[in-house]
């Protein structure tokens, strides 16, 4: 079946699962991306994205599965994006998060999509934000994102998620790592999962103390610290309630508007960066050879020359 992009987009808005799947692939493969996203973005953006991040093996997929079960009880249609790292050598990837989500494997009201990072850093892929919006436009308004298991959560998650849930495990030193890595600043909610194991309460106290000490990064929202055990089915409703409370806070306090502006800025910058890189890559081989022979001694001078060529005019102060 060969349909045009427009026909697939038409089907997407009718909530056709195959259209969701196919359009995601195109955007991931960088084909017709801007055309697809023009339609998709016009039909999405209302949904708040719940981002689940944290070190490898803490139970992110298990939590996504458990949260999905609760949302399904209230008939919400759930879109899940789960990101795993691509091999830096081959570019291939083994995407295994789905294993833990098989309980929803045949539920047509849950759409699970696995993604490789494809060389992008920060725990997500280049097109993850777009993929989430395709799911939303395709009829899955409850959006869950599982990042790569990163030891240090990067700020990148904030570009994508409206509710950043940082998952840690008791007795692992995760807490100290998190503090060092700046996770404290990005977390909207802390989850200590595997609370069926010893040390969970102590870890909660440590995190609460850190939040007291740094005044939760000067933000009006104080991240709650929740103990969960997916194994024993504990703490999940509390987590759902806190997510709802945080999302209500975002909307009511006006923080959402600011956050969305920051997200937009980061996204525009990312795409601009791509374009600059393309322009640079095609310009570089065409530079006069004298430039390169004299330039390799002074890259800064060469930067000015290349910048002039790329932008078509002289740089006016500033540092970019």
């Amino acid at each position: 079946m060969t349909l045009s992009v427009n026909q697939w987009l038409g089907k997407l808005l009718l909530h056709d699962r195959r259209a969701v799947a196919r359009l995601i692939s195109w955007v991931e493969d960088n084909q017709e991306q801007s055309e697809i996203m023009r339609t998709v973005r016009a039909q999405s953006g209302q949904s708040l994205v719940i981002g689940i991040t944290g070190p490898p093996g803490v139970g992110k997929s298990s939590l996504v599965e458990a949260l999905t079960r609760v949302y399904r009880q209230s008939e919400e249609r759930v879109g899940i994006v789960a990101v795993d790292p691509s091999s830096p050598y081959s570019g291939g990837a083994i995407l295994g998060d789905r294993i833990r989500m098989q309980a929803h494997g045949t539920d047509r009201d849950v759409f699970i999509r696995s993604m490789g990072t494809r060389g992008h850093l920060g725990g997500v892929a280049r097109s993850t934000a777009d993929v989430l919006r395709i799911l939303e436009a395709g009829g899955y308004p409850r959006l869950l994102l599982e990042t790569v298991g990163v030891g240090q959560s990067e700020i990148e998650i904030m570009r994508l998620a409206d509710t950043v849930v940082v998952v840690l495990n008791p007795g692992t030193g995760d807490g100290i790592q998190a503090i060092k890595a700046g996770i404290m600043e990005v977390a909207d909610i802390f989850v200590i999962n595997k609370a069926d194991m010893p040390g969970a309460e102590r870890m909660k106290n440590d995190i609460e103390m850190m939040l007291d000490m740094n005044g939760h990064g000067g933000r009006a929202w104080r991240p709650p610290v929740i103990l969960t055990s997916v194994l024993e089915g504990k703490g999940l409703h509390e987590l759902i309630d806190e997510i709802a409370r945080q999302q209500a806070f975002l909307s009511e306090s006006g923080t959402l508007i600011i956050r969305r502006q920051e997200q937009l800025q980061r996204e525009v910058w990312q795409h601009l960066e791509d374009r600059l890189k393309e322009a640079f890559d095609s310009l570089w081989p065409a530079l006069p050879t004298e430039w390169l022979t004299e330039g390799h001694k002074d890259p800064y001078q060469l930067v000015d020359k290349v910048w002039q060529k790329m932008s078509g005019h002289k740089r006016e102060g500033g540092n970019t």
Binding site: M1, R17, R18, V20, A21, R22, I24, S25, E28, D29, N30, Q31, S86, S87, P88, Y89, S90, G91, G92, A93, I94, L95, G96, R98, I99, Q102, G105, T106, R108, F111, I112, R113, S114, G116, R118, G119, H120, L121, R126
Partner: protein, 141 residues
């Protein structure tokens, strides 16, 4: 514009609990630049087909050791037809007797079946040839 990346669902239907073979294949496909969705043990045909659709894979590879090949392949194929997704290639491997292989290939219920000991490179080559694309070289971000 980059070339589409090949995506493969590796599934392990049936009741037996060994997935070493499936994991070896998954790794070989990854090392050949493909994205492998590994969906774990004990998959039903319904779960396999739904996952294949959501993940928009080009190929489904089933690892079978349980002797259930004569029911599983036709069932998966039928579900793919039902879902208008026959363009997804269905292949498999494991301990499948020669006469069953012949029947399944003849009936079109599987496009290719690889017996144990097949070099993984052969499977990679088969997939690339059938899809008529090469996985793109790794592009650094």
């Amino acid at each position: 514009m980059s070339q589409p990346r090949i995506r493969v669902l590796v599934g392990k239907p049936g009741l037996d609990g060994h997935d070493r073979g499936a994991k070896v294949i998954a790794r070989a496909l990854r090392d050949a630049g493909m994205e492998v969705i590994y969906s774990g043990l004990h998959q039903t045909p319904e779960q396999i087909v739904e996952a294949a659709i959501q993940e928009d894979v080009d190929v489904i590879g089933l690892s079978i050791l349980s002797g259930a090949q004569m029911t599983i392949f036709p069932r998966v194929k039928a579900l793919l037809k039902e879902q208008n997704s026959e363009d997804i290639l269905l292949i498999g491997g494991g301990t499948i007797p020669d006469e069953d292989i012949e029947v399944l290939i003849q009936s079109g219920d599987a496009e290719a079946l690889f017996t144990p000991g097949t070099p993984t490179g052969d499977i990679v080559a088969w997939i690339k040839e059938r899809l008529g694309v090469d996985s793109p070289p790794y592009e650094h971000a």
